[in-house]
Protein backbone atom coordinates (compact mmCIF):
# COMPACT_ATOMS: atom_id res chain seq x y z
CA UNK A 1 0.00 0.00 0.00
CA UNK A 2 1.36 3.40 -1.00
CA UNK A 3 2.50 5.75 1.74
CA UNK A 4 0.93 8.96 0.49
CA UNK A 5 1.32 10.65 3.89
CA UNK A 6 5.07 10.47 3.64
CA UNK A 7 5.03 11.71 0.07
CA UNK A 8 2.81 14.69 0.92
CA UNK A 9 4.86 15.55 4.04
CA UNK A 10 8.02 15.50 1.95
CA UNK A 11 6.42 17.59 -0.78
CA UNK A 12 5.16 20.09 1.82
CA UNK A 13 8.77 20.78 2.80
CA UNK A 14 9.72 20.96 -0.88
CA UNK A 15 12.20 18.12 -0.49
CA UNK A 16 13.08 15.74 -3.29
CA UNK A 17 13.45 12.01 -2.60
CA UNK A 18 17.20 12.40 -2.95
CA UNK A 19 17.33 15.27 -0.45
CA UNK A 20 15.29 13.33 2.10
CA UNK A 21 17.43 10.25 1.50
CA UNK A 22 20.61 12.24 2.09
CA UNK A 23 19.23 13.69 5.32
CA UNK A 24 18.27 10.31 6.78
CA UNK A 25 21.30 8.47 5.37
CA UNK A 26 19.70 6.02 2.96
CA UNK A 27 19.53 5.66 -0.81
CA UNK A 28 16.91 7.42 -2.95
CA UNK A 29 15.55 4.04 -4.02
CA UNK A 30 14.79 3.20 -0.38
CA UNK A 31 12.69 6.35 0.07
CA UNK A 32 10.98 5.57 -3.24
CA UNK A 33 10.30 1.99 -2.10
CA UNK A 34 8.79 3.22 1.20
CA UNK A 35 6.53 5.70 -0.60
CA UNK A 36 5.43 3.03 -3.07
CA UNK A 37 4.76 0.59 -0.22
CA UNK A 38 7.32 -1.90 -1.51
CA UNK A 39 9.43 -1.79 1.65
CA UNK A 40 8.55 -1.63 5.34
CA UNK A 41 11.26 0.41 7.09
CA UNK A 42 12.62 -0.41 10.55
CA UNK A 43 11.51 1.74 13.48
CA UNK A 44 14.95 3.36 13.47
CA UNK A 45 14.51 4.61 9.91
CA UNK A 46 10.87 5.63 10.59
CA UNK A 47 12.06 7.81 13.51
CA UNK A 48 14.82 9.35 11.38
CA UNK A 49 12.31 10.21 8.65
CA UNK A 50 9.82 11.64 11.19
CA UNK A 51 12.50 13.81 12.80
CA UNK A 52 13.63 15.10 9.41
CA UNK A 53 10.09 15.94 8.30
CA UNK A 54 9.00 17.25 11.71
CA UNK A 55 6.14 14.76 12.02
CA UNK A 56 5.18 12.03 14.47
CA UNK A 57 5.18 8.31 13.73
CA UNK A 58 1.36 8.36 13.80
CA UNK A 59 1.29 11.14 11.22
CA UNK A 60 3.39 9.26 8.70
CA UNK A 61 3.18 5.55 9.41
CA UNK A 62 -0.07 4.83 11.20
CA UNK A 63 -2.99 3.86 9.02
CA UNK A 64 -6.17 4.73 10.93
CA UNK A 65 -8.38 2.59 8.70
CA UNK A 66 -6.77 -0.67 9.84
Amino acid sequence: MKNLKLKSARAALDLSQQQLADKVGVSRQTINAIEKGDYNPTIKLCIAICRTLGKSLDDLFWDGEQ
Partner: protein
Protein backbone atom coordinates in the same frame (compact mmCIF):
# COMPACT_ATOMS: atom_id res chain seq x y z
CA UNK B 1 59.89 -25.73 -2.74
CA UNK B 2 59.70 -25.36 -6.51
CA UNK B 3 58.90 -22.12 -8.32
CA UNK B 4 55.66 -23.63 -9.63
CA UNK B 5 54.30 -23.69 -6.08
CA UNK B 6 56.07 -20.65 -4.67
CA UNK B 7 54.98 -18.10 -7.31
CA UNK B 8 51.21 -18.73 -6.96
CA UNK B 9 51.57 -18.54 -3.14
CA UNK B 10 53.39 -15.19 -3.43
CA UNK B 11 50.72 -13.89 -5.83
CA UNK B 12 47.92 -14.95 -3.46
CA UNK B 13 49.65 -13.35 -0.44
CA UNK B 14 50.22 -10.08 -2.35
CA UNK B 15 46.61 -10.11 -3.54
CA UNK B 16 45.26 -10.69 0.00
CA UNK B 17 47.47 -7.89 1.36
CA UNK B 18 46.32 -5.54 -1.41
CA UNK B 19 42.63 -6.28 -0.72
CA UNK B 20 43.15 -5.90 3.05
CA UNK B 21 44.88 -2.52 2.62
CA UNK B 22 42.26 -1.33 0.11
CA UNK B 23 39.45 -2.32 2.50
CA UNK B 24 41.16 -0.52 5.37
CA UNK B 25 41.42 2.75 3.43
CA UNK B 26 38.11 2.46 1.60
CA UNK B 27 35.58 5.26 1.51
CA UNK B 28 33.17 4.75 4.41
CA UNK B 29 30.29 6.45 2.52
CA UNK B 30 29.98 3.33 0.38
CA UNK B 31 27.96 1.56 3.09
CA UNK B 32 24.57 0.16 2.21
CA UNK B 33 21.31 1.08 3.91
CA UNK B 34 18.95 -1.38 5.62
CA UNK B 35 16.83 -2.14 2.51
CA UNK B 36 19.95 -2.73 0.43
CA UNK B 37 21.41 -5.03 3.11
CA UNK B 38 18.19 -7.07 3.14
CA UNK B 39 18.22 -7.30 -0.65
CA UNK B 40 21.88 -8.34 -0.59
CA UNK B 41 21.13 -11.02 2.01
CA UNK B 42 18.37 -12.40 -0.20
CA UNK B 43 20.76 -12.37 -3.17
CA UNK B 44 23.46 -14.17 -1.11
CA UNK B 45 20.89 -16.82 -0.20
CA UNK B 46 19.77 -17.30 -3.80
CA UNK B 47 23.31 -17.61 -5.14
CA UNK B 48 24.30 -19.96 -2.30
CA UNK B 49 21.34 -22.28 -2.94
CA UNK B 50 22.00 -22.12 -6.67
CA UNK B 51 25.57 -23.30 -6.03
CA UNK B 52 24.32 -26.01 -3.68
CA UNK B 53 21.82 -27.34 -6.25
CA UNK B 54 24.39 -27.03 -9.04
CA UNK B 55 26.98 -29.02 -7.05
CA UNK B 56 24.36 -31.66 -6.20
CA UNK B 57 23.39 -31.96 -9.87
CA UNK B 58 27.07 -32.26 -10.88
CA UNK B 59 27.56 -34.90 -8.17
CA UNK B 60 24.57 -36.91 -9.37
CA UNK B 61 25.77 -36.74 -12.97
CA UNK B 62 29.20 -37.93 -11.78
CA UNK B 63 27.62 -40.87 -9.89
CA UNK B 64 25.71 -41.90 -13.03
CA UNK B 65 28.93 -41.46 -15.03
CA UNK B 66 27.57 -38.73 -17.25
CA UNK B 67 30.67 -36.75 -18.08
CA UNK B 68 30.07 -33.34 -19.63
CA UNK B 69 33.16 -31.47 -18.42
CA UNK B 70 36.27 -31.82 -16.31
CA UNK B 71 35.55 -31.54 -12.56
CA UNK B 72 37.60 -28.33 -12.26
CA UNK B 73 35.66 -26.75 -15.14
CA UNK B 74 32.34 -27.83 -13.61
CA UNK B 75 33.20 -26.24 -10.26
CA UNK B 76 34.64 -23.11 -11.82
CA UNK B 77 31.48 -22.65 -13.92
CA UNK B 78 29.30 -23.08 -10.83
CA UNK B 79 31.28 -20.50 -8.86
CA UNK B 80 31.27 -17.99 -11.74
CA UNK B 81 27.55 -18.36 -12.39
CA UNK B 82 26.55 -18.13 -8.70
CA UNK B 83 28.81 -15.08 -8.21
CA UNK B 84 27.33 -13.37 -11.26
CA UNK B 85 23.82 -14.35 -10.17
CA UNK B 86 24.44 -12.56 -6.87
CA UNK B 87 25.63 -9.40 -8.65
CA UNK B 88 22.70 -9.46 -11.10
CA UNK B 89 20.13 -9.87 -8.30
CA UNK B 90 21.74 -7.02 -6.35
CA UNK B 91 21.73 -4.73 -9.37
CA UNK B 92 18.06 -5.51 -10.07
CA UNK B 93 17.13 -4.72 -6.45
CA UNK B 94 19.16 -1.46 -6.44
CA UNK B 95 21.46 -2.96 -3.82
CA UNK B 96 24.72 -3.26 -5.73
CA UNK B 97 25.73 0.31 -6.40
CA UNK B 98 26.58 2.52 -3.48
CA UNK B 99 26.12 6.28 -3.32
CA UNK B 100 29.61 6.78 -4.71
CA UNK B 101 29.31 7.60 -8.44
CA UNK B 102 33.04 7.06 -8.94
CA UNK B 103 32.84 3.48 -7.66
CA UNK B 104 29.80 2.78 -9.87
CA UNK B 105 31.69 3.92 -12.96
CA UNK B 106 34.63 1.69 -11.99
CA UNK B 107 32.27 -1.28 -11.62
CA UNK B 108 30.74 -0.74 -15.07
CA UNK B 109 34.18 -0.29 -16.67
CA UNK B 110 35.29 -3.53 -14.95
CA UNK B 111 32.24 -5.47 -16.23
CA UNK B 112 32.77 -4.37 -19.84
CA UNK B 113 36.55 -4.73 -19.66
CA UNK B 114 36.31 -8.27 -18.26
CA UNK B 115 33.58 -9.22 -20.75
CA UNK B 116 35.51 -7.92 -23.77
CA UNK B 117 38.77 -9.42 -22.45
CA UNK B 118 37.13 -12.85 -22.08
CA UNK B 119 35.58 -12.58 -25.52
CA UNK B 120 38.98 -11.66 -26.97
CA UNK B 121 40.62 -14.70 -25.36
CA UNK B 122 37.82 -16.92 -26.64
CA UNK B 123 38.15 -15.62 -30.21
CA UNK B 124 41.93 -16.06 -30.05
CA UNK B 125 41.57 -19.70 -29.01
CA UNK B 126 38.90 -20.35 -31.65
CA UNK B 127 41.14 -18.83 -34.35
CA UNK B 128 43.94 -21.14 -33.15
CA UNK B 129 41.58 -24.03 -33.81
CA UNK B 130 40.60 -24.93 -30.25
CA UNK B 131 37.00 -26.03 -29.75
CA UNK B 132 34.38 -25.36 -27.07
CA UNK B 133 33.32 -29.01 -27.09
CA UNK B 134 35.84 -31.83 -27.48
CA UNK B 135 35.46 -35.59 -27.07
CA UNK B 136 31.97 -35.16 -25.63
CA UNK B 137 33.15 -32.72 -22.94
CA UNK B 138 33.29 -28.96 -22.53
CA UNK B 139 36.75 -27.45 -22.76
CA UNK B 140 38.27 -24.58 -20.73
CA UNK B 141 37.24 -22.20 -23.52
CA UNK B 142 33.63 -22.57 -22.41
CA UNK B 143 34.54 -20.75 -19.18
CA UNK B 144 35.66 -17.75 -21.26
CA UNK B 145 32.39 -17.87 -23.19
CA UNK B 146 30.21 -18.01 -20.06
CA UNK B 147 32.16 -15.39 -18.11
CA UNK B 148 32.39 -12.92 -21.00
CA UNK B 149 28.70 -13.23 -21.88
CA UNK B 150 27.70 -12.88 -18.21
CA UNK B 151 29.98 -9.89 -17.55
CA UNK B 152 28.79 -8.11 -20.71
CA UNK B 153 25.20 -8.77 -19.61
CA UNK B 154 26.02 -7.32 -16.18
CA UNK B 155 27.53 -4.23 -17.82
CA UNK B 156 24.44 -3.70 -19.96
CA UNK B 157 22.17 -4.32 -16.95
CA UNK B 158 24.15 -1.76 -14.91
CA UNK B 159 23.89 0.88 -17.64
CA UNK B 160 20.12 0.28 -17.96
CA UNK B 161 19.70 0.54 -14.18
CA UNK B 162 21.69 3.78 -13.96
CA UNK B 163 19.72 5.34 -16.85
CA UNK B 164 16.42 4.29 -15.23
CA UNK B 165 17.65 5.66 -11.89
CA UNK B 166 18.49 9.03 -13.45
CA UNK B 167 15.05 9.16 -15.07
CA UNK B 168 13.32 8.05 -11.87
CA UNK B 169 15.00 10.62 -9.63
CA UNK B 170 12.18 13.05 -9.18
CA UNK B 171 12.71 16.73 -8.43
Amino acid sequence: MSGNVLIPIIIVVVLILFVAIARFFRNKTANYDERQLLARNAAYKSSFFFLLIYCSACGLLHIFEVRWADTAIQMFLGVIISFLLFIALCIMKDAYFSNSTKRNVYSIIFFFWFGINGLGHLLLYIIRGEALWQNGELTENFIYLVSSVCFLALGILSVIKIVLEKRGAEK
